[in-house]
């Protein structure tokens, strides 16, 4: 089986929020962070990241500021707003409930139904 899981629709935003919640990051840094925290199982297409970032900024979940990257390049850094933090909590709970429900459903055995 492919070691990299397919990204479910809608999960990119949640992953970005999670990645940024661990500390301000620029776009490329977010990609690296998601790879790192998912044990390289979730890889995001580079081009797909930015529309998502702009969307989250527009929704007021992220804020952005220009800064300087570790290798001395001017880059835009993203961090969570308070709304974004709240949203991350909600979405995480929702996701956990869903994941638990799915896991339980998929574990069901014929004789237990």
């Amino acid at each position: 089986m492919d070691p990299q899981a397919q990204l479910l629709p809608g999960t990119l935003d949640l992953l970005i929020l999670k990645a940024v919640s661990l500390g301000p990051l620029h776009g490329y840094g977010i990609l690296l962070r998601i790879g790192q925290i998912s044990g390289q199982a979730l890889l995001i297409e580079q081009g797909a990241l930015y529309p998502a970032l702009f969307r989250l900024v527009r929704q007021g979940l992220l804020k952005a500021a220009w800064g300087v990257s570790e290798n001395n390049r001017r880059a835009k850094f993203y961090e969570l707003t308070s709304t974004g933090r709240q949203r991350l909590r909600q979405e995480t709970e929702g996701w956990n409930r869903l994941a638990a429900a799915m896991a339980s459903a998929l574990k069901a055995q014929p004789e237990k139904v």
């Binding site: 479910l8 490329y28 081009g47 702009f54 527009r58 990257s69």
Partner: protein, 911 residues
């Protein structure tokens, strides 16, 4: 599964978040609007930084810098596409999309100038013509009359059904007698009030000389009945409309401005009307108009006396009634029927055969123009329909041709909504350009429509004075434009985007248009052909009516005739002998003028309409009181028939020996009178007397003349009788002068002659007979729609043929390979020609058949306007149908020639 707290995605948000989101959106939208350039630069920098950082990473792993940058670029994916998505995500999407669509549309339209020009012109003509006609229709039909609750106002008229109406209209006259008016007022409950009015000309004398001013004399409740209040001074008050009433006048706003410079202290000032000094008491509102009297400027209370007040059979006054609140026309008719029956019983001699007809004042004001305008409006609406059908067809054909382009764009990630919005942008740009051009056309067209109405007729339609492109018309224009844009923009947009991009790409240029779309296009062309056939038939019938009318022999020689009127004031010409003396002096002087071949008088100028009628009893043939026969009566000078070249059929003309003031009472009748009343007996020597007075003597018929057109060129030949002027003199005399010189010169010398006889007199309403015919309602009613419907029909057939040509051309280009195979397999030119033309001919045949059927139904609507031709005239229909068929074949032949020249090798290579 039902995950709580929203979905696991970010689609749904709470109400608070919704408000926040809206605010944020707005803020971002504004920020982006203001700093679009900066945002764009920011995004560019950020994305470039990303690639550089990634390249740095790769470089650290040992990749050479150039290779690292290349790889970073590739990993990033479609750079432009990402940017596009980011713009969308940032919220600049809408504005940018519009700007892009417009920019793109502009480039596309510029690349196909032929299509663009045809589309814009088609739209401009359709919209322009519609708006122009709508401006006029609005002014005439939709704009409320400037009276309070105008729908409650009813025109009432007394008619005798025995008398054939000269124009065939439902209500040709608008007259009642004064005693009957008083009885109506007393008896009616349904009507709140009745008011009487009658036209009057005033000779206004001022410092700069004298001029004729139109006006009216009214009962004092006239303005309260209309619901109009003077803006200055007072209304007429009860008691002023009696013989010895005060000389007061209410004046129009225009007259107030012109004569008094808008002086607010005008009430109490005096003007000289004829030989009287009249005090101005009030000024009417600016928007007041009263079309039945043309452009009246001075209103005076009726000062009537004698027979006008007491005689029930003297029906000289027009009456307008106002219904009580909530009362209906039906109730009013029922009530007036009862009142009329009562009056008929009480006064059998005067009212025995009288009926009252009613019409809303609006209909009365519009007269036949209302129907005419509706027909024009319908005709021009058809043109717009054809124009829209054509545009839709053009677009569909083009969209089919552009399927490859759309397929590629879809494959590159353009969403369906984006394609639709782009096609819509193109359509709306076309519509906007068409509307702008159309608006110019409309302004010009509305002016031309009004300008084409003869001045004398325009004076009877003051409501058309402000018929120019106004706000409601502008609104209509915009509505039509947007509808047209959406109508023809959406059809191809759905057609183009409904299929899967892949399918379209695979089918690519083979482009066998889907069946439904092809059927729709065929249906549109068939409808265009049918509609243009209807319009052409209508135009043909109108042109034939006009021709028949103008070629109708009026029965007298209309060449080199100048007409005018002279009104003799009562103070200086109190009795008949005074009028006769004036007539003799004046005519002698005119006959002596160089170049004058003759001068005659008639109480009514032929072809101007109007004139009075009289009831008579033939000797030895009694009739019940009130049911006597009635005929037109004209008072003529003795040499009238000979100068007018009206043939004598039997007997003799009047002469100056027998038919004098003191001579025995004589009368001449026309052939229609003989046909109607003599029952085949010799009319000469028969005697009859008028019944309006028991003192009337028996008059002997001395001659019979041929019929001539009296009321109008289109009027039926009605019984008429003629009295010698010396035996029936009048203080209002209308003259006809035959003189070959230029009319202006003739009129100048006539004016001088009149002044020489009496410097106080005024030469009124000078006109040539050509002008009278030209400006007469009967000619106008045919000429106007002839030109207009003719123009619309030409436009329609042109558009329809462009549509048919486009369809067949497209079909030929799509069937290229097929035709190539046929030719390769040995098909002859004739076969190909038959194949291609056959397709068009089939459509044309269906269109012509549908058009004939629709035409037969629709031309019935214009029956009232036709003259000398039936609404279902087989010749007109046949000629138009054959003509449309031939033109349609011609339109198909051009693409067919191209089809014949198809090179099978070339055609097949593309397959």
């Amino acid at each position: 599964m039902e995950p709580s707290g929203g979905s696991h995605g970010f689609g749904a948000e709470g109400a608070a978040g919704e408000g926040m989101k809206l605010l944020d959106t707005l803020r971002f939208f504004a920020a982006n609007m203001l700093h679009r350039a900066r945002a764009e630069g920011d995004m560019e920098q950020e994305l470039r930084a990303h690639i550089q950082i990634r390249a740095d990473d790769l470089e650290r792993k040992g990749v050479a810098r150039r290779e690292a940058e290349r790889q970073a670029h590739i990993e990033f994916g479609g750079y432009q596409r990402v940017k596009e998505e980011c713009r969308e995500a940032m919220g600049t999407h809408l504005v940018e999309t519009i700007i892009q669509d417009v920019g793109f549309g502009w480039r596309v339209l510029r690349k196909s100038p032929g299509f663009t020009a045809v589309a814009i012109l088609t739209l401009a003509l359709g919209i322009g013509a519609n708006t122009a006609v709508f401006s006029v229709v609005y002014a005439a039909l939709l704009r409320p009359l400037p009276y309070a609750a105008p729908n409650q106002l009813i025109a009432l008229s007394e008619v005798r059904p025995q008398l054939e109406t000269p124009t065939g209209d439902e209500m040709p006259y608008w007259n009642a007698s004064y005693p009957d008016y008083l009885d109506w007022t007393r008896q009616s409950k349904i009507f709140r009030s009745f008011a009487g009015f009658s036209p009057q000309q005033f000779l206004l004398r001022g410092a700069g000389g004298a001029e004729l001013v139109q006006g009216g004399q009214t009962t004092t409740n006239f303005f309260t009945t209309l619901g109009v209040k003077p803006i200055l001074g007072r209304d007429l008050v009860a008691g002023e409309d009696v013989e010895s009433g005060p000389n007061v006048a209410v004046i129009s706003y225009g007259f107030w401005m012109r004569q008094f410079g808008g002086d607010r202290q005008v009430a109490g000032r005096s003007i000289r009307l004829g030989d009287r000094s009249v005090q101005v008491v009030g000024v009417l509102p600016r928007d007041f108009e009263f079309a039945p009297l043309g452009r009246p400027e001075i209103w005076v209370p009726m000062h009537i006396s004698g027979g006008l007040v007491t005689r029930r059979s003297l029906r000289w006054m027009s009456v307008v009634g106002r219904l009580s609140r909530g009362a209906t026309m039906v109730q009013a008719r029922a009530e007036m029927k009862v009142i009329t029956a009562g009056l008929g019983q009480a006064y059998p001699q005067a009212n025995g055969a009288i009926q009252v007809v009613m019409q809303p004042v609006r209909d009365r004001v519009l007269g036949t123009v209302g129907g005419l305008l509706m027909i024009l409006f319908g005709a021009v609406g058809f043109v717009l329909l054809i124009a829209c059908a054509n545009i839709a067809n053009l677009h569909m054909v083009r969209a089919s041709g552009r399927r490859r382009e759309f397929a590629i764009r879809a494959a590159l990630g353009a969403r369906r909504g984006r394609l639709i919005s782009q096609l819509l942008a193109e359509s709306l740009m076309l519509a906007a350009a068409g509307a702008a051009l159309g608006f110019l056309l409309a302004r010009w067209g509305a002016a031309a429509l009004i300008g084409a109405i003869p001045q004398t007729l325009l004076d009877t339609m003051p409501f058309l004075a402000d018929a120019r492109a106004n706000l409601p018309v502008l609104g209509f224009l915009c509505a039509v434009t947007v509808l047209a844009g959406v109508a023809f923009g959406l059809a191809p947009a759905f057609g183009a985007s409904q299929r899967d991009a892949g399918v379209a790409l695979r089918e690519e240029s083979r482009a066998s248009a889907s069946g439904s779309r092809q059927r729709l296009r065929h249906a549109l062309v068939v409808a265009e052909i049918a509609v243009s056939l209807v319009l052409l038939t209508g135009a043909g019938l109108m042109v034939e009516s006009l021709g028949a009318l103008l070629h109708r022999n009026p029965g007298f020689d209309t060449r080199n005739l100048v007409t005018f009127a002279v009104n003799l004031p009562v103070t200086t010409y109190p009795d008949d002998p005074d009028a006769i003396r004036f007539d003799r002096q004046f005519t002698e002087r005119v006959r002596a003028l160089p170049g004058v071949a003759g001068i005659v008088s008639n109480s009514t100028i032929p072809l101007t309409g109007g004139g009075s009628t009289v009831r008579f009893l033939i000797e030895g043939r009694p009739k019940p009181a009130g049911h006597e026969d009635e005929a037109c009566i004209r008072s003529i000078s003795n040499d009238y028939f000979s100068m007018m070249k009206i043939p004598l059929l039997s007997g003799r003309f009047f002469d100056d020996v027998d038919d004098t003031v003191k001579g025995p009472p004589h009368v001449i009748v026309n052939q229609a009178w003989v046909d109607a009343y003599t029952r085949g007996e010799n009319p000469l020597g028969k005697r009859f007397r008028f019944t309006f007075s028991p003192k009337e003597p028996y008059r002997e018929i001395v001659g019979v003349v041929a019929n001539y057109a009296d009321a109008g060129l289109d009027s039926p030949e009605v019984p008429a009788l003629f009295l010698p002027f010396p035996q029936d003199a009048n203080s209002y005399i209308t003259y006809l002068v035959r003189a070959p010189a230029s009319p202006a010169e003739v009129i100048d010398s006539l004016r001088a002659a009149l002044r020489a006889v009496d410097p106080q007199l005024f030469l009124a309403q000078p006109a040539t007979m050509e002008q009278i015919i030209d400006q007469s309602p009967s000619v106008f009613q045919r000429r106007y729609p002839s030109y207009l419907i003719g123009g619309f029909a030409a436009l329609a057939i042109l558009l329809a043929m462009v549509g048919l040509y486009g369809l067949i051309s497209y079909s030929v280009s799509q069937r290229g390979p097929e035709l190539g195979i046929r030719i390769a397999l040995g098909a002859q030119r004739g076969d190909i020609l038959r194949l291609v033309v056959g397709e068009g001919a089939r459509l044309a045949a269906i269109g012509v058949a549908a058009g004939l059927a629709a035409g037969l139904a629709l031309t019935q609507l214009m029956r009232g306007l036709l003259f000398g031709v039936s609404a279902a005239d087989p010749a007109t229909f046949a000629v138009v149908a054959i003509g449309v068929g031939l033109v349609a074949l011609a339109a198909c032949c051009i693409p067919a020639r191209r089809a014949i020249r198809t090179d099978p090798i070339v055609a097949l290579r593309y397959e």
